[in-house]
Symmetry: C2
Subunit: 304 residues, 2 copies
């Protein structure tokens, strides 16, 4: 059309403060420019850390983010994801046995797994090399001279929890250190898990001199419990986390941990998802990012 009419139209649109209806458009184009992000409660500080860069990446490419919470208790209804209101889904809470990925796949809804993976399905995935990260922690603890090591792991039914546990055990057993059963705890990746477990470990007649935590949020709970018991770190106790969420670097904690590049992970996930939306039949890819140890203030030699 002519430039003149175009301007006239745009002018009228502005005058009427016209905004195209999203429903009409997406009904016609079969695209909503909306992505669902499935996560646990936002009050668990891990998730904002992972979700925020995704939200930004999506926004940059013209997509909006719909938050969907997956509580362990009442499972997520597939209908919420499959009513056509989403162009794709990012899964951050998948457990090894979860059926959601299969349901999405069978409905041809594009999705990616982030930070968690499952082996029962071919899917686009982006994860850290959790095993390697935990092995690095094991080596650090050994280097420091620790032999009485405890651990507060995440859930075994998540790849993240499982791989970090495998890595720690592998690293320790290389030099003949093993985790005593009574110095090992397991639970959801939450502050409460770390807090409760650390109290239990400290109640032990001979408590651990170093504790590996399945992630930073658990480590912060453990830290709080230790402080609550009057311990000083790292003098009395070594705590090492995993993730390197922003809080880990706060001087109030100064948590020694394993850095995961969430921005890179989010960027990769968004990229993979949008690529799949464009070309649904592409071969699946799996990206693995390498974590690295970040030494701060919660590790030291055993009290001796």
């Amino acid at each position: 059309m002519s430039e003149a009419t175009r301007n006239r139209i745009m002018e009228a649109a502005r005058a009427l403060s016209y905004v195209p209806s999203e429903a009409g458009r997406s009904l016609s184009t079969k695209a909503t420019k909306r992505i669902g992000v499935v996560s646990a409660e936002l009050t668990n500080p891990f998730f904002p850390q992972l979700i925020e860069p995704m939200r930004e990446g999506l926004e940059k490419r013209g997509y909006r983010t719909l938050l969907i919470t997956d509580r362990a208790e009442n499972p997520l209804e597939i209908g919420l994801l499959a009513d056509g209101s989403l162009d794709g889904v990012i899964l951050t809470t998948a457990t090894l046995g979860s059926s959601l990925p299969h349901e999405l796949a069978s409905r041809r809804i594009p999705f990616v797994l982030v930070n968690r993976e499952i082996d029962s399905i071919a899917a686009d995935t982006c994860v850290m090399d959790n095993r390697s990260g935990a092995e690095q922690v094991a080596q650090l603890l050994i280097r420091l001279g620790h032999r009485r090591v405890g651990a507060i792991f995440g859930p075994q039914e998540t790849s993240t929890g499982r791989d970090r546990e495998v890595g720690l055990r592998a690293g320790l057993s290389e030099v003949g250190v093993s985790l005593p059963r009574n110095l090992t705890r397991r639970g959801p990746f939450s502050y409460e898990t770390g807090h409760r477990a650390m109290r239990e470990l400290l109640d032990n007649p001979t408590p651990p001199a170093a504790v590996f935590c399945g992630n930073d949020v658990i480590a912060l709970g453990a830290h709080s419990a230790a402080i609550g018991r009057g311990l000083r770190l790292p003098r009395d106790l070594t705590i090492v986390g995993f993730d390197d969420i922003a809080m880990a670097s706060w001087e109030s904690f100064g948590l020694t941990t394993v850095r995961c590049d969430f921005t890179a992970m989010a960027e990769a996930a968004v990229g993979m998802l949008l690529k799949r939306i464009k070309q649904p039949s592409l071969p699946h890819q799996r990206q693995v990012l390498s974590p690295r140890l970040v030494l701060r203030g919660t590790h030291g030699p055993p009290a001796s």
Copy 2:
């Protein structure tokens, strides 16, 4: 229709794994069952605290939550809210001069203001009595014997920042204590604000013995800076926050603060919004919740 046919239909629907199209439905019904929640970055721990209960409340009533980020830098485009994809909007970042509420009002898009209010418009609002909360802090500090008091306030162009500042000053001046200009800082409600400002205050030749913070996130930044300087709380310094986010109660901080009931605030906001969606012409209401002091471990008498 008959029970038999109904069952037959439902059976077929299940067999085809049919899910009604959200776009088609909302085009027809003019309702999307979707609410936009405007907030700042989720990595600021305050927002998850406020948003999570809203999200839950909305979910419980059959609404979904679309996250929208309002960055100070690039202002939010009204089109994102006005394309018919939202039944209503919850605003948590409104500043005193922001135009968003007016634009929403002129387009007849239901909205509520939460935690922030603006005086230039009649709108549904739910806020804390921030002035009263800050006055309680002032009284606490006075009771402890503090006279050399500093403050790290939030932005003056937010009702929250302004009212808390007004309250603190009013409370202090009742007994003749005033805030010296060189012990006062101001900035966004962020960790960085608190961290930087506290370092500056501590660089002062005669640093404050007590510091009021505009909110908990600022207080946590201040806490970190103090710890980073080797101070012990409350022996060397008193810090008081505002909000009582979950982290404030972590023993690693044990932050003395002012409790705001976010669940109640979220519940009220959701209730008001859905009521307005049903009856757009209802008179506007303004709910004010009362905060109360929570004494923990970061307050004490001045070092003397």
